[in-house]
């Protein structure tokens, strides 16, 4: 039985569920949360960048370094189409990625 985790957005105002083998972006769009613009789902366009405030994740695809440097990733930024949760997560916005 696969684990499902709670992903919280916007300082607790929104949340959605994400399975351990699902990307956070796919789960977010399916449940119509976050209002992120829709991009490539391949780690290449950078449109799904968010800050991981807390929670562990597992990177399942490479992220384009044109959009997220190693330093940025180390301080908590990630491309949501490239990660799956390892536990409950809290996310916050990065400027410019919302309609």
């Amino acid at each position: 039985m696969r684990d499902t985790f709670v992903i919280t957005l916007n300082a607790g105002q929104e949340s959605f569920l994400c399975g351990e083998d699902d990307t956070v972006l796919a789960a977010m769009l399916r449940q119509r949360r976050g209002h992120l613009r829709c991009g490539c789902f391949g780690g290449g366009c950078g449109i799904c960048k968010m800050r991981i405030v807390s929670g562990a994740y597992h990177q399942i695809k490479p992220m384009s370094r044109a959009h997220i440097s190693e330093a940025e990733q180390a301080e908590g930024l990630a491309l949501l189409c490239c990660i799956a949760p390892r536990g409950d997560m809290v996310l916050s916005r990065v400027d410019g990625n919302y309609e």
């Binding site: 613009r37 829709c38 991009g39 490539c40 789902f41 391949g42 780690g43 290449g44 366009c45 449109i47 695809k61 490479p62 992220m63 384009s64 370094r65 044109a66 959009h67 309609e99």
Partner: protein
Amino acid sequence: MGFNKTLRPGLVQIRVLDLDKTLHFYKEILGLNEVCRSSDGLRVCLKAYDEFDHHSVTLRLASEAGLDYVAFKVNSPEELERIKDEVVAFGYRIDVIPPEYDQPGFGKRYAFTISTGHRFQIYSDVKLADQTPMIHNPDIWTEPPRGMRATRMDHFLLYGPNIAEAERFCKEVFGMYAPEVCNTVDGNRLAVWLTGSNKPHDLAFVEYPKPGKIHHLGFYLNDWTDIGNAADWIAVNRLKLDVGPTRHAITRGLTIYFWEPSGNRIEVYAGGYSAYPDHPQRVWDSDQLGRGLFYYSGEMVPSFLEIVT
């Protein structure tokens, strides 16, 4: 038809984040054939079944997605030297890439950067592929086309600053013409479609502040039936669809846009009008661009214009 100096875009090198997964897409889903690999295993050369030249697409494993360069085939070694001199006279610095340097089968290439920040190359000599289309009492294919059945690498849309200069360069140095353009309300170029042949576009530009970006790489399919077949392959393989199937009013092409596994946008395209340099230019106002791009819905898809790689 007498072609102008530049025959066609003949080669692109694309950066990919996951070589195995992305190569699987280009081969088994888009339907290109693998031609060769670099000895370090980091680059793979591919061609479409209906192309004659050695290869047309090279994938390079990299930490960023996007475009390394595009290369145009010109119609003779003499023309290559003449165009090279004109590139210099236009004000761009030339680098010489010796034959067989990093693209097997390719002769000498000249490389330079244009105003939009893109690396362009020109060449005249390239070996024929081992498996070309038949030429004597030819059948339509030798091996059944796979997947989306892409027949050729067709065109690309590039995003960058100062497309007015890029347009002037393509016309003055490459001998191209612009069958269609799109202008803002204050009369500036927002987009231009350019060709050196009678395809409606060999390449296109959209004005954008960041240099060197690619919006999409376009592959040619035979017809509307193959566009539907491509949509089935997108759905079955859970690829991320961007827009379509629909029709462009600009170029009249039938189209689908979607994303390959490394986040480069791909278009599969069929139809399109035959362009001629003496035909009057078609002009679009930017507030009509939604209809120009997505003729059936008539509405712009914001993410389509804004998201590039």
